[in-house]
Structures are given as C-alpha cells and as structure tokens.
C-alpha cells in the first residue's frame, strides 16, 4: 500500500530552485535510500517533506497516508507519523529528554484521539526503548542533546524514533560523523524497528550505512531530480565508481 507519494515536487529557497520535479513512491514496510553528491537536494527533500518554512513549494503534490501533506503545519505532519532524524540535532538546554518526549508522545496520542499516557507507563516505555538505541539511563534525565557527543545525539534521534513509532522515518545523513561502532548501533536500532507498517527513507552520501541497513530501493538524486533508481546493487556501483559519472551523464538533464 502506498504510504508516501511524491509527484513532480519542485521547491526553492530564496528563489533558487533546489528540487526540480521529484517523483517517488514509498509503500508501507519498504526501505528506500536516497544517495547523491553534495548539493544535490537530499537534505532539502527531507526539509520540504517535514515542512521547514524557509523552503517554498512551487509545484507538485505529496500524499502521505492518504492526506495532502503539504497543507499541514510541521507539527501535524509529525503527529500523523512522519519522523525526521536530524543531521544536526539541536540542543534544548534545561529540558529533560523525558519531559520533552512525553509531551511529544502525548501530542501524537491526542491527535489520534487517545488519552495522555501516565508517567509510570511512559517511564516503562522509555526503559524498553532505551535498549533499542543502547542508551544509558542518565540520557533520560539529561537536557535534550545538552552536551551530547555527536554519536550520542544520533543515538538520541534513534531513541526518539523508537518512542514515537512513526509510519515513515527519514534519516538525514545519520551516518555522517559516526565511527563504525556508533554506526552499527544506529543501524541495529533501525533494523529492530523494521515492520510491515513502517517505512524508512535513508538519506546518505556513502554506501557504508547500507551494509547494515539493507534497502529495498536505492535512488540517486542529482540537481534536484531522481536520475537513477535501482536496488541495493546500485549503491555498490556508486561506491565503486563515485559520483563523477553521474555528474557527467546527467549534467544537462
């Protein structure tokens, strides 16, 4: 079943066109990887899907879970089940991870017509999910990303994803800046959450992460357009040949 359907999506920032007609369909349970050279529009795609306001959508449609995604404010998209693991998670000093996540989860529950979760029940969920992202107990009471290392921040993103149980999780270069051990933890977290009712869109520059999270489909983004699509073998080919041939072949496209 189609969960996300992007049709001819065009978007710009400060009148500079970044996305130039994206078409992509993701079904429930699938893992899609988007690769591409720097500046090809990968992060912009994630930002437009999640509703970051400095980007203007100039054309196209995005359907998510049967709804017109582009009409919704960012928080509503999140409550509907769209999650972004940020490339650079921000620090919110003084706000504990636990408080922040309880508020986030309750907003989602409210949106779905459920009662707020009791603190005790929430604490139990947190303890369970903490295992998925291999995080320590003190993570929960520390300020959101406050003083976290790069690896801790990325693990915290996976932890949040585990708590919020999205329908579609977008991982924006989650592998950047991670050593191999941290990378494995992130990948294991994602794999533990694989589910027929959950999809992933993994944005990455390198093939490395895809050794651990095996995608169903791989797309190459260049100049704001998907120029090539294939299976996981395409990622290996890119790893071997680099992006230069893509640039040459599709420069005029």
């Amino acid at each position: 079943m189609s969960l996300l359907k992007i049709t001819n999506l065009k978007a710009n920032i400060e009148n500079k066109e970044i996305l130039n007609g994206i078409n992509l369909e993701i079904n429930s349970g699938e893992i899609h990887a988007i690769m591409g050279p720097n500046g090809s529009g990968k992060t912009t795609l994630a930002s437009v899907l999640t509703g970051k306001k400095e980007f203007q959508v100039t054309d196209g449609t995005v359907e998510f879970d049967g709804k017109n995604l582009l009409e919704m404010p960012p928080e509503e998209r999140a409550r509907l089940g769209l999650f972004l693991a940020f490339q650079y998670p921000v620090e919110i000093p003084g706000v504990s991870n636990a408080n922040f996540l309880r508020l986030a989860l309750n907003e989602k529950r409210k949106y779905n017509g459920l009662d707020p979760i009791e603190p005790a029940a929430f604490f139990k969920i947190m303890r369970e999910k903490a295992k998925i992202a291999k995080i320590e107990q003190d993570f929960l009471t520390r300020g959101v990303n406050e003083g976290f290392s790069g690896g801790e921040k990325k693990r915290n993103e996976i932890f949040q994803m585990a708590i919020l149980e999205p329908k579609l999780a977008i991982l924006d270069e989650t592998d950047s800046g991670l050593d191999i051990d941290a990378l494995k933890i992130v990948a294991e977290g994602v794999n533990a959450m694989r589910d027929p009712s959950r999809s992933f869109l993994i944005i990455t520059h390198y093939q490395r992460l895809l050794d651990y999270i095996v995608p169903d489909f791989v797309h190459v983004l260049f100049n704001g357009r998907i120029v090539l699509s294939g299976t996981k073998e395409l990622a290996l080919e890119l790893e071997e040949k680099g992006y230069d041939w893509i640039k040459e072949e599709f420069a005029t496209a």
Binding site: E75, A78, F86, I92, G94, V95, E107, Q160
Partner: protein, 481 residues
Amino acid sequence: MAEQNNLIEEITKSEYKYGFVSNIDQDITPKGLSEEVIHFISQKKNEPDFVLQFRLKAYRAWQKMKEPTWQKVHFPPIDYQDMHYYAAPKSSSKTKTLAEIDPEILDTYQKLGIPLEEQKVLAGVAVDAILDSVSVATTFKEKLQDLGIIFCPISEAIQDYPELVKQYLGSVVPYSDNYFAALNSAVFTDGSFVYIPKGVRCPIELSTYFRINAAQTGQFERTLIIADEGSYVSYLEGCTAPMRDENQLHAAIVELYTHKDAEIKYSTVQNWYPGDKEGRGGIYNFVTKRGLCAGDNSKISWTQVETGSAITWKYPSCILKGDNSIGEFYSVALTNNYQQADTGTKMYHIGKNTRSRIVSKGISAGKGDNSYRGLVRISKSAENSRNYTQCDSLLIGDQCGAHTFPYIEIENKSSIVEHEATTSKISDESIFYLNQRGISTEDAVGLIVNGYAREVIKQLPMEFAVEAQRLLSLSLEGSVG
C-alpha cells in the same frame, strides 16, 4: 524579514489573563499625600506613637529627596499628589473566619487560583492574602502559634507585638534608604510580619498574595521577616493586579533579618498587570528588598520570577555581616510587549568566609527591555569570601533589548569573584526541531523558555514552580509565529 515581522506581531497578541475588577466597597482617602493623610492612616490603624513618628520622619525625609534617574527604564513623571494612599475593603475590618469574608473577595481569589480554601490549606500553605492595603484572611495561624511562630499582617503585629516591630522595623531598610523606601515608610498600609523563634523550623511554606484592586491606588506594603537563632522559614509571595489604562505605583519594602544559624528562603512570583500590547497602563513595580545576615552561619536566599509589571525595578539584596553567612539570588525576569525591567541584586560581603551566588536569567520578547544590574562588594574585613555570578539573556525577536551592568568591588586579596554571562536567541532551528516531534510552536517556546529558566524555577517550592512555569508560557503565548 516578513517572518520576523509576523513573529513580532504574534508576540503582541498575548493578553493578560488576570485583568478583572472586583466590585468591593472601598474605604479610601482623598488623593494626595500630606502629613494629614499620614495622621489619618496611622489613626485609622490605631497605631502607637512610635509608628506615627517613624512615618512622619520618613515623609519629611522623602520631601527632601529626588526621584532617582540612573536606572535604565523610562516612564513619564509620576504625580504623587494624584493617587490614593489608603484603600481598604469596607467589610474587612471585622472579618475573622473564611465564611465571613465578602464572597466577591473569595471569588476574586478563586479566579487568581489562590489556595485560600481549606483543602488547599491542608496541602500545607498558610496564606496571608492582601487585597489592596489590608490583610483579609490569614489561615493556619493557630497551628503556627503553637510553635511560637508569629505570622500576621504587619498592622496586627504593630498592635500585638509592638516591641518586636519597634526593634526591627527599618533595621534593614532605613526610612532614608532611597526615594521609594522613604515613601513606603511614610505611607505603608499593610504587609506581612513573620517571627520564627529560636530553633524552630517552620513546618509549612508561609505565603502572601498581593492584589491591587482599587483604581488609582498606590500599594505600599511592607513585609518584615525575622528568623531567630537556628530557625528556618520559607516564604512565598505572589502578585497580580487587574487591567487598567493608567499606571499604578507599587512601592513595597521587604526586610529580612537572620540571626545566628538561621535561614530565610524568600520566593516571589510577580505577575502584576504588565500594560496592554501598546504599552498603556501597567504596574510600576519599584520595590526595595533587602536581607541582613546578621548572625554567623546564617543564610538568605531570594528567588524571583518576574513576568508582570510595566516596569520592574528592584534589587533584592543581602548584607552578609555574620561570618560564614550565605546570600543567594535566583531570578527570572521576562519582558514582553513594552515591558521594562531593571533588576538584579546586591551582595555586600562584610563577614569572613561569606559566600554569595547569583543566577540571573533575563528573557526579552516584543519590544521589551531587560537589564541586569548587580553589585558584588567584598569589603576588607570579608576575608576568604566568594561570589559566583551567572548572568544570561535570552532574546525572542529582533526588537527587544538585553543589557548587563555588573559592578564588582573587591577590597581584599583572599577573596574570589567569578562572573559569567551569555546571550542567546531562540533559534528557528530549535523551534522546528520541536515542531518535528509534534510539539506546537507555542508549546515549543514555552518548553525552551522553561528549560532556560530551570535553574531558577527549581529553587521554588513545588506549587509555585508549577505556577511559574505556566506563567512563563502564558506571558509568551504566541511569541513566535
């Protein structure tokens, strides 16, 4: 840029939630200040002569003084002859029990959410509620009396414990201290009096709720808290005022006095009417608060959350006279729309090994202007003393201001003073991050601001901390679009 403008517009949408006026019969003096008015107030309150003389001396000193102008707040000249100096609910003079209180007053308190009813009292808060100038209800008094604790309106203390009042009144803030202190000393109408006897640890939080109700009234309450040797008390003060177009003056005095080994913790949540979004009306909150750590090993701790008032201008201070005494100041001051705040503290180190800690968190939004002004003075006698100051500013939007004026004077070589300061903005990235987790922009701002202020809020007793968090969020409602 368009977004920035939207954002500013959004900020100004936030409205004061406590702006209702109660219809209570008032007993009120004619406008203006003179020796006759002072005689009238003193007579009305049936005061002993020493209080009248104190008032008159203060009034004469005040007449010779000039309104200070060094502060970084601006307001049109105040006409001191154009306000009332005494206003009392007519029905209050005979009030004894909760059941006898004017239902309109109780209703007022209910709207404010003040824990005046019995069930709240059982939760452990004794309330001395002050409406305009007279305390209307004091709860829990008898239980405290068993411990020898005195907690009553100061006018009652003047009647019942004149010796104590005579000994301590003006001992920390002399009537000649400053312009507004002199004015208060001349015309103070009510306030709280607390005495904790030797070795007693007050088992509950003592609390006062101030509210300005009458129009064109100045409120001049005066609070005096004495902690005798080895005693402890935690005192809470909360404030609100109804919406009015004109400005109202609130010039209070709070005096704290700790003997040897005693501790006073004084917490304020101030939410006076801040004026409307065009900057009309609002309270001028010009208050003198000072504590004297007279005895060795004593401690005074001020915590304030200031979200209201058109102008907040005050410096809760500590005089650390006793050896090893400790002074603390934790402050959150929020200015939105056209609010102005010039607030901070003064720490006077006199005794040996004295320590002080200052944590100030300013929040500016809209066209608000927020200044921290603080003095740390370590005198020659204060050997091995320490001060730590942390002074942070948070800006929301691009039309507000934040300023820091630290004054540091050190007269010996064995003491250490540290000062840290930061300025930050609520970034679009932070808001978006929280939006992406399903949290609305309004809640996101509230969360960020409360996180920023956490170090101060956690100093407050639980009940107040919850209210303070709510107030911070309310005061910034819609502040980022």
